[in-house]
Symmetry: C2
Subunit: 221 residues, 2 copies
């Protein structure tokens, strides 16, 4: 029966982005003391339909019950949170430091082991207990240590080169904050996180709404 699923189709991007939302909300419900929940309750909470919740869970292979704790663990396993992920951060500007200092990643089983920067002055310093190393030894570090996810917070210019190197060294995932689109390559997953793009999308929506309102008012005359 299992053997039939030769090549599971890749989960859609939309669903891959809903999974963390499910997880976050089920976690909150567990904290609130909810014992059991229904697809309708979860759906109401995140603002969509129970049909979608059920369809999503079905697409992911099916849940084994709607007990809150069980569901939380099931979602966590789907997302891969049961595997400890070792990370390094390249670039220790404000954003890099913010990421290194984040509480909350640890309890999702993500751990930052080292930070890298090209500024020699920073060598030997620490951020939140994480040592800053010089970027010249990044390749060596990646080859000698298990690094699952590389976080790039360098300026745009440096990002591509670091990315290529990380790919060669066998990093599994790249979390990119530099304002260039790194394209997934031979076995590496890439998550681009563009603050500027996000802000522009917000700007677009604001403008779109204002335009529609102006249009409506014009109509009423």
């Amino acid at each position: 029966m299992e053997e039939k699923t030769l090549s599971k189709k890749k989960v859609s991007n939309a669903l891959a982005r809903r999974l963390p939302v499910y997880y976050r909300n089920v976690c909150a419900m567990v904290t609130e003391g909810v014992q059991n929940l229904t697809s309708a309750e979860l759906a109401a909470r995140i603002g969509n339909t129970s049909a979608q919740v059920r369809q999503d869970f079905y697409t992911c292979g099916g849940v084994n019950g709607y007990n809150a704790v069980v569901l939380k663990d099931w979602l966590g396993a789907k997302i891969g949170l049961e595997n400890r992920k070792q990370m390094v951060v390249v670039g220790t500007g404000n954003l890099g430091r913010a990421i290194i200092s984040f509480k909350g990643f640890n309890k999702l089983n993500f751990f930052i082991d080292a930070a890298f920067d090209s500024d020699l002055m920073l060598k030997g310093m620490q951020i939140n207990g994480v040592p800053i190393l010089n970027v010249s030894i990044l390749e060596k570090y990646l080859l000698e240590n298990k690094v699952d996810i590389l976080v790039i917070t360098t300026p745009a210019g440096a990002a591509q080169e670091i990315f290529e190197m990380a790919v060669k060294c066998g990093v599994k995932g790249v979390w990119n904050f530099a304002p260039v689109d790194l394209r997934p390559k031979e076995g590496v997953e890439v998550e681009n996180m563009h603050l500027g793009d996000s802000l522009m999308t917000l700007s677009f929506r604001i403008r779109e709404k204002e335009e529609n309102q102006a249009l409506k008012e014009k109509q009423q005359k």
Copy 2:
């Protein structure tokens, strides 16, 4: 002819997120000295098809030519970049400070005028020339000043309350980094930027790929 478009349908989320990518890439091409471009060239650069580029531009009302500078301005206008946007940041933790210190927002016509924090010790201080005010006067500030976009980088607990207040005060957009989903309300656009979700999606993709590879190897035996 124009008058017929009674209610322009909202642009799809996918397209609203591609617009900044188009803009960013056309900007880069302008910098590189490109004079004219084609839908195919732009498409190749961002990794999709020329058909989609043309369809997207068509959906947005149609371009007036593929001169790089003209296209850049056209995209900028669609995104609303010609309007100066006044912003304030609530929360001056690492992430708040990173956002305040970002170069690059200004040239997109976004400006941060003030920062707010609940920590009284920070009152009177500045970050990158931006004054830190106490959050107790945020409501007064929002009523007395033009604030287009409110940036929330507070802990999850404080976000909802600040959001409600901002809505009442007529803020047009909220850029939310707190790990709660703020829902759009009466005339306010919301852009949720969840670092944790992004990291979880990356984790999911890594796990998905590993699982498929394991499956493939099993098959080959």
